[in-house]
């Protein structure tokens, strides 16, 4: 017996502290997070709740811009102020209490109005990875959105208004390699086996196997063999439900009864896998359009690595790939003996490595044409790109200024509002209260004694907005009453919900993993429902 030694790979304290999240976005995701520099405009409850879920996982640095002083109202809804802090600068108090959560995070406080910054310090925002803004009047929001859009800095607008929450992501272009799709189809290439796979499969003969071997053949072999039989008979792989049912029957016919009388598990797995494993190998339409865009791009020294790799991938698909993406190189688990399963797994892996190598060569060629580049693309970048090729995502955003100009899809608004359950009505209401605020310098229902008059005034705002979009007065009075009831109240549980969601959207943007909303999310706590709209 060996004596236990000192741990050779004992984790650092940091790895232990972040263990539960490192299992989701990996060490490389964590590294991106730790390099990020986040700016929050206004340390309201929604603002501090957003920062909280960024400070805890260890974002690099935060800056709070806020010229407000702590009021009793803040004490009532904001966890990051305390009783002693009334009258002190809110951003300073919040920053102190937020940083106390995690000593790894650095922070700064700027006691200035954002309007002033926008007027006098045009480059103020350039160091930031992402800006989060809340509680801004429409005019300030529009100026900020324009500055950040032009500077290509992602902006997250977050808001809690009574029982309604709102998140808007403004980002010109966002590319995702690791989108982590939830239910992936396996990439087995049974309809177009690569030579090494074909050679190995053809070397196996199910008929002559003894019973132990037969019941331990991985199902990918069973499907391959059955497909050959099928193709001989019908000429093409099964396509529809009925053909697949027949195919399953054919698999079943190949099954032997075990001595114990039980069915062979590997054959049962094969039957279950028919639906997902026999899908024709093809390029998902979303990836296809990314490749087409990449193909038509002219590379310049400022082209981002994603698009260089996408162009190389397109070249691969049209040449060595013969119309298909690189082999992914991972296969599902299958009941099997170790030897065959691992052999087959290695065949897929080797092919994946070979395909990635072709893409890498093309990346290097393209890079050379561009001369010396600042951002190097490494072999492991290309490998990750190829492994995730089927799940690449690109979001093309729109600026808030553009959205507010009315260039949103107007037909959709009318159609959505006809649906009594559409959350879009709350978007319209939020836009309307902002117009109300521009006009009357207060939100509707803000003062207890003006709720009734404000209902009438808000209705005018709503209908004017609808008329601008070419819609009739189709919003029910109920929604107007409810908005006036809220009086712009920022209720903590709504702020906490939106803060949690928004923090994760920021993490998606920072790490380029998972897929951000595109582009407006409405949360309705009345019914505990939500919806996302592309506006």
């Amino acid at each position: 017996m060996e004596k236990p030694g000192t741990p050779s790979s004992e984790q650092s304290d940091k790895a232990k502290k972040y263990d539960r999240q490192l299992r989701l976005w990996g060490d490389h995701g964590q590294a991106s997070l730790e390099c990020a520099n986040i700016c929050l405009i206004n340390a309201s409850a929604t603002g501090t709740e957003t920062l909280k879920s960024l400070v805890l996982p260890g974002v690099g640095a935060i800056t709070i811009v806020d010229d407000a002083k702590v009021t009793p109202k803040d004490i009532g809804n904001n966890f990051f102020v305390d009783g002693e802090s009334i009258g002190r600068p809110r951003g300073e108090v919040a920053l102190h209490l937020l940083l106390e959560l995690n000593p790894d995070v650095r922070g700064t406080f700027v006691d200035q109005a954002v309007d002033e910054i926008l007027d006098n310090q045009p480059d103020f925002f350039s160091p930031f990875t992402c800006v989060i803004a809340t509680c801004l009047p429409e005019s300030t929001l529009l100026s900020l959105s324009k500055v950040l859009w032009d500077a290509n800095i992602p902006l997250l607008v977050v808001r809690s208004y009574g029982m309604i929450g709102y998140i808007r992501v403004q980002i010109e272009e966002h590319t995702v390699i690791e989108s982590h799709p939830d239910n992936e189809m396996p990439d087995l290439r049974l309809d177009r086996p690569f030579p090494a796979l074909q050679k190995y499969m053809d070397s196996l003969d199910l008929e002559t196997m003894d019973s132990k071997e037969h019941s331990h053949v991985p199902y990918v072999v069973i499907l391959y063999k059955t497909l050959q039989q099928w193709n001989q008979r019908y000429g093409a792989p099964p396509k529809n439900y009925r053909e697949k049912k027949d195919f399953i029957q054919l698999v079943k016919e190949g099954m032997r009864e075990k001595e114990s009388g039980e069915a062979e598990e590997n054959f049962e797995e094969a039957m279950k896998a028919v639906n997902t494993s026999l899908m024709p190998t093809r390029i998902p339409s979303g990836v296809e359009s990314i490749l087409n865009e990449a193909a038509s791009n002219t590379l310049t020294p400022s082209t981002r690595p994603f698009w260089i790799m996408a162009k190389a991938l397109h070249e691969f698909v049209t040449s060595e790939g013969r119309g298909a993406l690189p082999v992914r190189g991972t296969i599902p688990d299958m009941t099997a003996d170790s030897e065959k399963y691992i052999k087959i797994q290695n065949l897929y892996r080797e092919q994946a490595a070979q395909d990635a190598d072709w893409v890498l060569r093309r990346v290097l060629e393209l890079s050379q044409q561009l001369g010396p580049r600042k951002v190097m693309i490494t072999e492991s970048d290309v490998k990750a790109f190829c492994k995730n090729a089927h799940a690449l995502r690109v979001l093309k955003g729109k600026s808030i200024a553009e959205e507010y100009k009315g260039s949103i899809n107007l037909g959709d608004i009318g159609a959505h509002l006809e649906n009594p359950e559409s959350e879009l009505v709350w978007y319209v209401m939020l836009r309307a209260v902002d117009q109300f605020h521009s006009e009357f310098r207060a939100y509707p229902g803000y003062f207890q004694d003006q709720v009734e008059t404000d209902i009438v005034r808000l209705k005018v705002c709503v209908n004017r907005l609808l008329a601008d979009w070419g819609c009739g007065p189709i919003i029910k009075d109920d929604f107007i009453h409810e908005m006036c009831r809220y009086g712009a109240a920022e209720v903590h549980s709504i702020a906490a919900y939106i803060g949690g969601c928004a923090a994760h959207e920021a993490i998606k943007i920072i790490t380029a993993q998972y897929v951000p909303i595109h582009n407006t999310h409405i949360y309705n706590a009345i019914t505990a429902t939500s919806a996302t709209f592309t506006l």
């Binding site: 790979s9 539960r20 299992r23 009831r485 549980s493 906490a496 949690g500 923090a503 994760h504």
Partner: protein
């Protein structure tokens, strides 16, 4: 003691409580008294002071609740700090409930959180009857089922009619990575935890023969070391069980698993994976916990104040690709073992052995029990069939496991009382002989 009032302090929730609105519960009456009631009369129990529990305490305290109680049997670990925001490095090793309560009480003036460093099973029905609402932020299904059973056992029926005042709502949240769910349970009225047992399929273990003879995945190699090699080699002495928090233990497993992987050509055994498999770690982030706890807190607020109709009744959340939620009414199961008031049939053959029945109770999706003990009612007397403890009784009853229903003298229609950790009360089954 009332909450310290700095004039406008509660102005935001007061707008919801003092103004009428079209989406309020029909019972709602706008009044300044509601906030007072929330602060002075409503007693809320939060179960769990972990990822959800920390958030829940903060959320509820800032929604105006002042009489909060929290139960948690755990102490603080370094790996909690990425999300359990009431804890700091200096608190490691201390009870979660105590530290969480201290922090909230210190930060939010007027709020009184009472901590219990206990298991939920340490308290009886009188304790639970004292709360108006129970919020669960648990990671254990057994604990959820137990508290569900406890609150169901508090229901009073008169002539078959449920006395509504005996209903204590449960607001239950759960998270895993970027997914979560929040639900509202009105015991006796809406679907309960047991009604939806099929949403929590029993954990799948790798077959032993795969682990022993045909490993294919790095996980198989780790399980081989954990299950087969550890008890054989006892690397840290006889009877030293694996401690997932001891880096030396994990490291030993990791190195042996790596060796086994190399033998079979299996790559991918890492220290992190080893720890994940041994401790059955579920990934967790701050954001999902914040979202689900907030959704639960909103429901607590709605139920306590009627300022809005409560969620009906189950909501799932996922923010992997965009932000997705789906809210629907999960229906009450007509023959629910816990809440239906319908006698449960236990279908058996005369030739079935007692151990087959125990296997059925543990393995079927419908029951998913852990270690059921069985007693039969024969001629008005209780006859123990099998009990796990005390050891002397277990030993005496063990031979029964191999006896058939017939040999045990059981017959159609007889009542069997089953006790299990998943429920605070015994469940009565009626034997139904089939074939």
């Amino acid at each position: 003691m009332t909450a310290v009032d700095w004039g406008e302090r509660w102005s935001e929730v007061r707008k919801l409580l003092e103004r009428p609105g079209p989406f309020t519960h029909p019972d709602f009456e706008p009044s300044p008294d509601t906030l007072k009631m929330l602060q002075e009369n409503i007693k809320v129990l939060v179960i769990g002071a972990g990822g959800l529990g920390c958030e829940l305490l903060k959320d509820l305290a800032l929604m105006g609740f002042t009489d909060l109680h929290v139960i948690d049997m755990d102490t603080i670990d370094l790996s909690n700090l990425n999300r359990q925001f009431l804890f700091r490095k200096k608190d490691i090793g201390r009870p979660k409930a105590d530290v969480a309560a201290e922090f909230i009480n210190q930060r939010i003036q007027g709020c009184r959180v009472t901590p219990y460093y206990n298991k939920i099973q340490d308290f009886d029905d009188d304790f639970y009857r004292g709360f108006h609402l129970v919020v669960c932020g648990l990671d254990s299904i057994v604990a959820r089922r137990w508290i569900n059973g406890m609150l169901l056992s508090l229901l009073c029926y008169e002539d078959g009619m449920l006395d509504q005042s005996s209903v204590i709502p449960i607001i239950d949240g759960g998270t895993e990575g970027f997914k979560g769910n929040a639900r509202v349970i009105l015991p006796g009225l809406t679907s309960c935890i047991e009604c939806t047992l099929d949403l929590f399929p029993p954990q799948v273990n790798f077959p032993l023969c795969t682990i022993a003879h045909t490993p294919r995945l790095p996980e198989h190699c780790i399980e081989y070391v954990r299950i087969l090699l550890w008890p054989k080699e006892n690397p840290f002495g006889e009877d030293v069980a694996i401690d997932g928090d001891d880096p030396q233990h994990i490291n030993w497993i990791y190195e042996k698993a790596q060796k086994r992987g190399a033998e079979y050509g299996i790559s991918g055994v890492t220290y992190r994976l080893t720890q994940g498999v041994v401790k059955r770690i579920i990934p967790a982030v701050a954001s999902t916990n914040a979202v689900i706890a907030a959704a639960c807190a909103s429901e607590v607020f709605k139920l306590a104040t009627s300022a809005c109709t409560p969620m009906n009744n189950y909501c799932v959340f996922n923010d992997i690709d965009g932000i997705y939620t789906y809210t629907y009414e999960h229906e009450k199961k007509e023959e629910c073992m816990a809440c239906s008031q319908v006698p449960q049939n236990l279908e058996v053959r005369l030739t079935d052995k007692l151990k087959d029945i125990i296997t059925m109770l543990t393995e079927s999706f419908k029951f998913q029990m852990k270690s059921p003990g069985l007693q039969a009612m024969v001629d008005g007397r209780t006859k123990s069939l099998y009990l796990h403890s005390p050891a002397s009784i277990e030993e005496k009853l063990r031979p029964n496991l191999k006896k058939t229903i017939e040999e045990l003298g059981l017959a159609d229609g007889m009542e069997i009382a089953v006790a299990d950790v998943t429920s605070p009360t015994t469940i009565l089954f009626k034997l139904k002989i089939i074939e």
